[in-house]
Every structure is written in C-alpha cells, then in structure tokens.
Amino acid sequence: MELNDLYRDVILDHNRHPRNFGVLEPADASVEGFNPICGDRLTVRLKMLGDEIANIRFEGQGCAISTASASLMTEAVKGKTRTEALALFERVHRLLTDDAAPSDALGKLAALSGVREYPARVKCASLCWHTLASALQSADPQHLPAVSTE
C-alpha cells in the first residue's frame, strides 16, 4: 500500500483542475449526490441528445478522490450512450472493489485503481457514478412528467 498509488498525478491534477466543473444550463437532469459518512455533496447535470450524453458538468465540494473521480467521469462519459455509460460504471465499480478487475481499456479512469486498497475511500470515488446513474434515470423521457405547452 503506497500513498502515491492512491494520490497519482492524474488524481492530483484532476483535483486541482477539475474538468467540466460548474453549472450546465439548460440541463435535462440535475441530481445531487450526498455521502452521509463524510458530508460530501456533488451535483451532476446532463444534457442529452436522444440516447447520448451530449454534455455533462458537475459541481460541489468533496475530497481529492471524489473530485478527481467526478472530473474523470465527465470526460469519460461525454458522447457515450446511456447503456455505454452504465456499462462503464459497472467496470469502474469492479475496478474499485475487486483486486482481480482488469484496468485495461479504462483509459485515465484506471488511475482510480489505487482506491481499492483503501476500503474507507471507495465511496468517495463511487459517489459521482451513483449520482450519474440517477441523473440518467431522471433524464429518461419515460420517467419525465408530461410537460405540455398546449
């Protein structure tokens, strides 16, 4: 267990300069995720184009792991379909919890693999993904309340 395996340069960089950080207006979905263990909050906002995530931004306050994870996530899922994004969540979740999980083809997200040595911190890294899953659900037209101008 090595600290610099947890706080890799990619993580530190995305914590210092989070990508896609801030408000997204207008958004098709805006969901706040809350980690009651540490009090961290972050909001994920989505703009959908059909089934595809056309744009995604997040804001909130959290530790380096949660901020960097959210930043990396926004980069990874932009342009992906709903199904692709949820499949990626599945793979990241395995990366965070399963020692045998492969990290190939995860790109920069593989930098999160150090987190699995720190069980108390897994929720920091997964908070943004749970929030994204919830945002995708609320952006689903089938879940939207009927709105009509007629």
Binding site: M1, Y7, C38, G39, D40, A64, Y118, A120
Partner: protein, 415 residues
C-alpha cells in the same frame, strides 16, 4: 515545531502509563501507532481486558435469581461494578445508576420514559448548538410525538455557549434542558454548573451528556445538581456496548419503565404486572454483564491513577498541539473556546479532511475526519467536515510532533 520549549513534561509518568495499554505498542504500516482518536473511542488498559477475560473464563452465568454458584458470582461482579459507579459519579445510591448500552440509549430512555408522558403541545425542550446528534434526534422524535418544540441555544464564533444566552431561552414552557458538558466536535467545556443552576431556579429538569467529559474531569452529580447524567463506557477506557444513566431517585421513581421484559418486574400475571424496584425497573432483559464488569474495572484503574497529574498532562498536550498546529501555514483551528478539553478540531487549506486522514494513517497517526455527528456545528462554520485530534493521558508530545510532520507531508503532496 520543536520551538515551544516552554511546555515541560509534567511529573505524570506517561511512559509507564502507556505500558498499561497493550494496543499502544502496535505498529501500523511499520510505524508506531499514534492514537489521536480518543474522542471517538478510548483504548483499554490490561486491567479492563483481564477483568472481562476473567469473567468470561470463570464466572459467566445469567445474573439475578440464579441459586447456583456461577450466577451468584456473576451477580456480585455486576453489582460491584454498579457500586463503583456510585462512587465515581458521587450518586446518592445504587438505585440511581442504570446500566444502558451507552449515552445514546440513556438519552433515548429519558426522552421516551421521562419526557414523552409529560410533554404537551407547546412545551419546549432546550438544547444547545453544540450537541452531538445523540442529544438532538431523541428530542426531535419526542417533539414529533407530543407536539412539543425543540429550542436551540446559540454559540458564538469561538464555539462558546454563554449562560445569559441560554438563560434567556428558558421560559415557563421549558420542560427540559439537555446539554453536553464537553463538545465532541470542538472541545468546548460548557459552564454546566451555572446552566443547571439557572434551569433548576425555574423548575426545569436537566440532562447532561457527559460522554466527552468523564474521561477528562471528575464528575460529581450531586455537586452539579443535574437530574440526569449520561455517558458511555468505551470513551472511558472501558468496553463498548455499556454505558450509564444516572437519574435523581425521586424522578426515576415517578417514571414508567422504558422497555418491558425480564428482570424489570416483581410479579407478572396476564391481568397485571408489578414493576421491580430501581434501578432494575429500567434494566429489562439480560444486560451486558461483561461490559459492566469491564467498565467497573476501568473506573478502578482510573481511581488508582494520579488523575490530577493526568489532567495536567492532557492540558499540556492541548496547549502544545494548539501552538504546534497554529504554527503550520494553512492550518486553521475550528473551535477556540475559553475552556477546552484536550481535543483540537482543524482544517488545512486546500486539503479535504478525508485526504488528510488517509495520508496521516500512512504515518500510523489515527485521527477522526468528518462531521463528528455534529452537523449543525459544521454548518455553523460553513464546513462539511474537519479533522480532529483528541488526546488521552497516554498521548505524548512526540505524537503531536508527528501529527505536525504528517500535515506538512500532506501539504507537500497537494502543493
């Protein structure tokens, strides 16, 4: 950080005291453990471990009513622990000492058994801003049940609660005043003696949450003149799952039982049940026998120790830690009350407390990070979390130096 040469190691022999606590010899990640999370749970001395072990190996049986030898031995050990608590808290009698799971259960017991039958819509329960969730939520629940209102006395930007501010909120509607003696989030020592006097002058019943106070100061419930006093064993170097509710006998007598079951009865028929005498009326079911014995042993351990010396040592640790942390650029201490127990809450610029906690753990330094079950206090300071180092008499100045060095290391990682 070695520049504070004015603080001298007092007479109190911390090195020999450390030998009493086996876990303090542990290595974590190849480094000696620096345990600075005593506010969450203190470590146990060998005396406590041995007392529990001896009970489990040689004396365990269910207590009360058994006529065989083991049951009588277990009963004697359990009740001897109660006797020690009478002395420890300066209660009038053993009828005033009720064994519970911990502070949380003690407060819930008072909320449901004392407050709930009494409260009417429009009545008020007064607490302070500094309370732990355990001294907030049970009152919120009973307020929902009865239509009573929870009133919160303010604190200032240092984390001090002022007697006049609390007093001005005590009204004819106030039925109960519940207050912590020491804040777990900031370390503030509250002026409970004066607060209790102000409440009693108005006929208001008082409950003191002593969870953070008992490890640091002698407590005399008769001198305090409170009606209820609650604390947990594991913060007092005893086992988890055991705690104490002290209650003034005249009030306990009038209260209905909290839970029904075995041991809390004298006679049961399907038509009517006669409740047992105090304190058994409030101890339904088989209690945590080994926990009570362990807690009794912890009190005996503390009784045999130079507690004035221990107190002076803790105070020196607090001053040293406060000065050390203040000397580190980017560190801000949260909670600067006039009187504090040996606990420092702080934040480091640009480093989230959870990252700091993980980095310090790598150096075998255990601190607590988060909201400390006091979210209103965090909101007051507009923080989601702080880092908290909380000291016991077995901590050393060297451990505080290591804490400072660890913070510098974290700063260099996040620079």
């Amino acid at each position: 950080m070695k520049n504070i040469a004015l603080v001298k190691e007092p007479r109190f022999n911390v090195i020999s005291v450390r030998d009493d606590f086996p876990v303090l010899a542990r290595m974590i990640h190849g480094k000696p453990l620096a345990y600075l999370d005593n506010g969450a749970s203190a470590q146990r001395p060998t005396a406590v471990i041995d007392a529990v072990d001896d009970y489990e190996r040689h004396h365990h049986a269910n207590i009360h009513r058994g006529v065989h030898t083991l049951s009588q031995e277990a009963t004697s050990l359990y009740e001897a622990a109660r006797d020690r608590l009478v002395g420890f808290l300066h209660a009038r009698a053993r009828s005033e000492i009720i064994f519970v799971r911990g502070t949380t259960e003690a407060i819930n017991l008072v909320a449901q058994s004392y407050a709930r039958p009494l409260l009417k819509s429009g009545d008020e329960i007064l607490i302070t801003y500094l309370e732990h969730h355990a001294n907030i939520v049970p009152w919120q629940i009973v307020c929902e049940q009865t239509g009573a209102k929870l009133v919160v006395a303010p604190m200032d930007e240092h984390g001090d609660v002022h007697v006049d501010a609390v007093e001005s909120l005590m009204s004819e509607r106030t039925r109960l005043f519940a207050c912590t003696q020491v804040s777990n989030a900031l370390g503030t020592i509250l002026p409970v003696r004066r607060l209790i006097a102000a409440a009693r002058a108005r006929g208001i019943i008082t409950l003191i949450d002593g969870a953070q106070a008992v490890p640091h100061m002698p407590v005399d419930v008769q001198d305090l003149d409170c009606d209820f006093y609650a604390f947990s064993g594991h913060k007092l170097f005893g086992p988890t799952g055991i705690g104490v509710l002290y209650g003034r006998e005249s009030i306990l007598e009038r209260m209905p039982p909290w839970q029904g079951g075995g041991d809390m009865i004298l006679a049961v028929s399907f038509g009517k049940t006669t409740y047992n005498a105090l304190p058994y009326k409030f101890e339904a079911g088989t209690p945590n026998i080994s926990g009570a014995i362990g807690l009794g042993s912890a009190i005996a351990y503390l009784g045999a120790m130079d507690r004035d010396g221990a107190h002076a040592h803790e105070h020196a640790l607090l001053s040293y830690a406060t000065d050390s942390l203040r000397s580190i650029a980017g560190v801000r201490i949260v909670g600067t009350a006039r009187e504090k127990a040996s606990l420092v809450s702080f934040v480091v610029a640009d480093i989230h407390p959870h990252d700091l906690g993980t980095i310090l753990d790598e150096d075998a330094i255990a601190i607590r990070t988060g909201h400390h079950c006091a979210m209103p206090v965090m909101d007051f300071f507009k923080l989601a979390a702080t880092a908290r180092a909380s000291f016991a008499f077995y901590n050393t100045f060297d451990e505080i130096d290591r804490l400072g060095a660890g913070i510098l290391r974290a700063r260099s990682i996040f620079a």
